[in-house]
Amino acid sequence: MNPEIILHLILWPPLLGFILNGIIGSKFPKWLVTFMACLMPLISFVGTMLAYVNLKDKKTAIELYTWFVGEGAAKVNFGFFIDNLTLVMLFVVTGVGTLIHVYSSGYMADDKGYPRFMAYMNLFMFSMLMLVLGSNLVVLFAGWEGVGLCSFLLIGFWYENLEYNKAAAKAFVMNRIGDLAFLIAIFMTIYATGAIEFEDVKDTIISGVNLNEPIMVVIAILFFIGACGKSAQIPLFTWLPDAMAGPTPVSALIHAATMVTAGIYLVTRMSFLYDVTPIAQTVVAITGCLTAFVAASIALKQNDIKKILAYSTVSQLGYMAAALGVGAYITAIFHLMTHAFFKALLFLGAGSVIHGLHGEQDIRNMGGLKSKMKWTYMTMLIGTLAIIGCPPFAGFFSKDEILAVVYSKNFVFFIVLAISSVFTAWYMLRMFFSTFHGTYRGSEETHAHIHESPWNMRSVLVILAGLSIVGGFAGLPEITGQAHLLEKFLKHAIFQKAFHVSHLFEYVLWAVTVVTLVILFVLTYKRYAGVDRKYTDANENYLAKLLANKYYLDEIYDFLIVKPLKRTGSWLMHTFEFGVVDKIVSIPTAIVQSGSFALRNLQNGKLSWYLLYSIIGLLIILLTFIII
């Protein structure tokens, strides 16, 4: 089958869906909006399967047309590229994306902006597909900006709420900082290698001719700063928890499963660059470890169900970055994939809980939902077990692999990540038990109306739960004697050095993981499952307060960056704008005004004055004649 047809089949349907639903969606009946919005990602998914069948293990570049020609030889194609890495990303994006579209049709059904919501979701799919399919940095950047825009639109979807708009603006601005670095990195790449297509850049860098190492390091770090913005790494991660203002399917699709992985994808795509710049790699690894730890510790003390999941997303992205930092790109992509499954599941499960409780998000007001929402309970249980790394669920294998590869490189990083995963288990189990076990702690009125979600939401949860169970088997570790399917598949696209982890260590790691999880399970169950009254925050110590307030990071940023900027702006407005610019501008007006005041007296309507003027004029004329 012609690769170009497959590409068109994957790329364009979501854009079509956006245009149709976005322009005339409000005139359509609801079923048609739903049908179109869900069909388009499904077509993309079918296209992805076709691509898998026809194009796997190959590198297919498709150049649609020349976008623009820069100075010198730099030519930018509107080109696309499919290799095995793209295929994995495509499966995640279109697969999880389609499921979330179906879920949204249930979750958002009663919202008055339903067609608009679906249109934005489709636009997001399109941008994300462009991002993963782009064959050069510029096309990737176009998709990159597109997902940023959609994220902004969807976080601020309920635009009547000022706080939500602020959250949207915060996400946009923080991403912009990363994007600037990314843009500079693109320019520097062109400058340093003269190439823009990934394959050309790769060839240039691998050949190593005329390579300036410091410039390479700067480029690699700048790309990673871009990735920090999108993938919510320290120091640019504070937007992600605030982004939970958007509807829950958005959090699942954009802020857990796909968009935030764009940075991980970028670094993986540019892995050849990081292989030659060990300094940049170290930066990536340290950032990843710190992010994983900081976000996991913050999540310990959050009470909003979506905030907990948001911080856990940040933390998991930190794991991926840490894996990237030690050069284990395939491992990072593996965790990206399993994370997409179980985090989408967890978010959608949380959405189902919120839906059932009519907007309640505080886990202190939940409890005892086990009997009321059986489907949600079971699927959330699977999701929780997957994220805390309980064998044999998906998260176990990917996290275990990350820990193993990190251990083989650096012991300190390993310890940090191991502690973070203990935190992960604690806050996830706390959230789970507080929500579903014990007795209901909310208001009586809501209690009577708790209901299980409709079938289209439930079925998505079940499918994702299935994926969360089997997803991990794509990457079985060496000691099981089975092949690491994903590594085999991705070997064609990514070069990854072999990691030597002793079998003994693997066994010990497994044993420790299982024992720790059992202990944590028992502890959290005792502490949170039996709570039948509201938590009190009275006996909290300083550390707990520090965590609950997110290390005061928002306040620090506010103090260091936002406030000085605002003060500068206000100074410029009051002193410079009003004092200098306005003064200069008002000089001509003053001249015209005073001049016209003077001339106004000429036209006073008094006959004798007019007569005087004409006589003066006459005299002037006569005198002129006389003088001449």
Binding site: N604, G605, K606, L607, S608, L611, L612, I615
Partner: protein, 109 residues
């Protein structure tokens, strides 16, 4: 110049012209500064007659009667003009109850 009567020649043309100019400027000043429209009107008449005087004098000194005939016409037209002007003044006075020329400024467009 010998046909000009002796009695006229006792006063030189310059003196006639000077008187005429003085009269004209008196009239002009009156038009400019006085507020009462009747006085303004009288001043206009003075200016008119200053010109008439000048024309008669020059006509006499040049021995050409065309100027004097012209003055007769002017006087006839001036008489007509006076009647029309006075009528207008009366109408304005009836409407505005004033002869102050500055208060007519409400007629401005």
């Amino acid at each position: 110049m010998n046909h000009i009567p002796e009695i006229i020649r006792t006063i030189s043309l310059e003196q006639y012209l000077l008187l005429s100019a003085i009269l004209f400027f008196i009239g002009l000043l009156g038009v400019l500064v006085r507020k009462n429209i009747i006085i303004v009107f009288m001043c206009i008449e003075i200016m008119l007659n200053a010109v008439n005087l000048m024309m008669v004098a020059t006509s006499a000194y040049r021995g050409d009667s065309a100027g004097q005939i012209m003055v007769l016409f002017t006087m006839a037209v001036a008489a007509a003009e006076v009647s029309v002007g006075l009528a207008i003044i009366v109408m304005i006075y009836k409407n505005l109850k004033t002869t102050n020329i500055d208060l007519f400024s409400q007629m401005k467009g």
